[in-house]
Structure formats: structure tokens, C-alpha cells
């Protein structure tokens, strides 16, 4: 439910909602966990650097919480 909410909100601040996902797994599901990690890493790689990282690279400094 909260992930749904986030997926609705993220585009409003310029972030692709595909960058967040939630999976429910038990501790006994090691192989599935590895698979998800690989898939998700690949997805993020495809999407490229996040606009936030890009902004930080440009020397932006804001958005730091204490």
C-alpha cells in the first residue's frame, strides 16, 4: 500500500517509480532472493544514474538531513 503511494508520489519529484519495488520473501528463499537482486540491479542499470545522483555529481548539496 505504501509502495503504491510512493510510486504515485515519486514522479512528482522527478524520480522514475520503477526505481522502487517491494518483494515479500522468507529467509528460506535464498535463490529467489539472489534472482530478484540480479533482476533489480539490471533494471536500475538500464534506467541509468538517478537524477539525484546526477545532481550531486553537478555539485548540488541540498537535501541533506541531519
Amino acid at each position: 500500500m505504501r509502495i503504491k503511494t510512493l510510486k504515485r508520489l515519486l514522479p512528482r519529484v522527478g524520480v522514475d517509480p520503477a526505481r522502487v519495488e517491494m518483494f515479500n520473501l522468507s529467509s528460506a528463499m535464498g535463490p529467489r532472493w539472489a534472482e530478484i537482486c540480479n533482476e533489480f540491479t539490471e533494471r536500475i542499470r538500464q534506467l541509468g544514474p538517478s537524477p539525484i545522483r546526477a545532481a550531486l555529481g553537478r555539485g548540488g548539496k541540498g537535501g541533506t538531513a541531519s
Partner: protein, 222 residues
């Protein structure tokens, strides 16, 4: 409870982006129940705003905090430091909470993060519906326990009006006609004859029309 809805982030962002220390401040009672203004929602909104700040290259610092209720002095102690740190507070309370903070912290700029919507109930998960307008003179005893002041689009006290359509209000087919509900309930209770009692002209002076209202309990005042 009071139901509110977060303002679009573009609107709240425009309020706070030119400050250097912004506190997004949750109110964890009514507006937390409707998932719009609780401490959790304050965390999320602060986080989203940090993302925005970074992308826009702004050097403002955004923190989040929250308390149980922003409409009562006794809850503020735990957040006093955060509030004093900020040069602007984006309050996620209803309009009551925002104004209470304005009174309590005259030096700090307090902005509304929500649009306060109505007094309502949790009809079911995720569905909140209006059911009282605080008119100051309850008519529920005369209307089979269903309020025409808040639930009829014309607040008619002798309804239904000509717009009642197959049980729904003419303005929205998903909105039940309050007077259909009243008539149905009177019938179910075997009291349909009560329908013919004319509701007298209402005294609206106890409502908004009479100006801001107060309730005073002298015995509790120090």
C-alpha cells in the same frame, strides 16, 4: 475525526523552497488515520522534498518530526528543539493545528501542508466520508439518525428535494440521497408517520454563520 488531504507537492514546495531550514511536521491523530498528515507521511514528504532540493541544487535542509496532536499545548515538548531549529514549518495538521502553532510560535513561519476537508468517519479502509458539519444544534433525533445538514447537498431539512434520483443525489450517482436514507430508516423502524412532521426553520447562529465559536468550562480553567 478531521479528514484532510495533502496539498500537491508543487504547491507546498513553492511555499518552503526559499528557506534554509524546513521542518515537515506531522500530526499523528485525525489526519494520520486518513494517511495524509501523520508522522509517517511527514517522513515521506520530507524525503521527497530532499530529492527535489538535490535536483534543483538548492541548499536547504529539510527535517521531519511530529507529535500526537498539534492542537494542544501538552504534546509539543518533545518537538520543541526541532521547531526552534527551523525557519519554516510545513505542518501536516488540519487547519486547527496549523493555527495553533502560529499562536504558539509567533516567530516561526508555519505553512499548511494539507487541505482540511471535512469531519468524517472511516466507512471502510481507504474510504472516508463526511457525516457532520458541526452546526451546533444537532438534528439527528428528528432525522432518524442521519444528518441532512452534512449529507444533503442542499442541507434541506424537509427533504428529499426534486433531485433525489433512484436513491442517489443528482449531483453524483455515487452519493446516496440523505433523505432516501432517512425515509428508508424511518420505515425500517416503523416510524414512517414521523416523516410528516415539519422541521422548523433552523437557527443557524450556532453554525459558522454566528461567527467563530467557543466552548468554555470555567471549572477547568486555571
Amino acid at each position: 475525526m478531521i479528514v484532510g488531504k495533502q496539498k500537491p507537492i508543487e504547491e507546498t514546495w513553492a511555499m518552503v523552497k526559499d528557506f534554509s531550514r524546513v521542518l515537515v511536521f506531522g500530526c499523528n491523530t485525525c489526519v494520520a488515520v486518513c494517511h495524509e498528515g501523520g508522522n509517517k507521511e511527514a517522513q515521506i514528504l520530507a524525503s521527497l522534498m530532499r530529492m527535489k532540493a538535490t535536483q534543483e541544487g538548492l541548499s536547504l535542509e529539510i527535517r521531519d518530526s511530529g507529535i500526537e496532536r498539534q492542537c494542544e499545548h501538552e504534546f509539543f515538548e518533545s518537538a520543541e528543539k526541532d521547531i526552534e531549529w527551523a525557519d519554516a514549518v510545513l505542518s501536516l495538521a488540519c487547519g486547527v493545528g496549523v493555527q495553533f502553532m502560529v499562536k504558539r510560535y509567533p516567530e516561526i513561519l508555519v505553512y499548511p501542508g494539507l487541505d482540511t476537508c471535512f469531519l468524517g468517519d472511516v466507512e471502510k479502509n481507504g474510504l472516508f466520508t463526511e457525516s457532520c458539519q458541526a452546526c451546533g444544534k444537532c438534528v439527528l433525533a428528528e432525522t432518524a439518525g442521519i444528518c441532512p445538514v452534512s449529507r444533503c447537498a442542499k442541507r434541506v431539512l424537509n427533504g428529499p428535494c426534486g433531485g433525489s434520483n433512484k436513491g442517489a443525489c443528482e449531483i453524483n450517482k455515487d452519493l446516496p440521497c440523505a433523505w432516501q436514507l432517512i425515509v428508508d430508516r424511518l420505515e425500517a423502524l416503523g416510524r414512517l408517520a414521523d416523516y410528516e412532521r415539519l422541521a422548523p426553520i433552523k437557527d443557524w447562529s450556532t453554525e459558522r454563520a454566528g461567527g467563530p465559536r467557543k466552548l468554555i468550562h470555567e471549572e477547568f480553567m486555571k
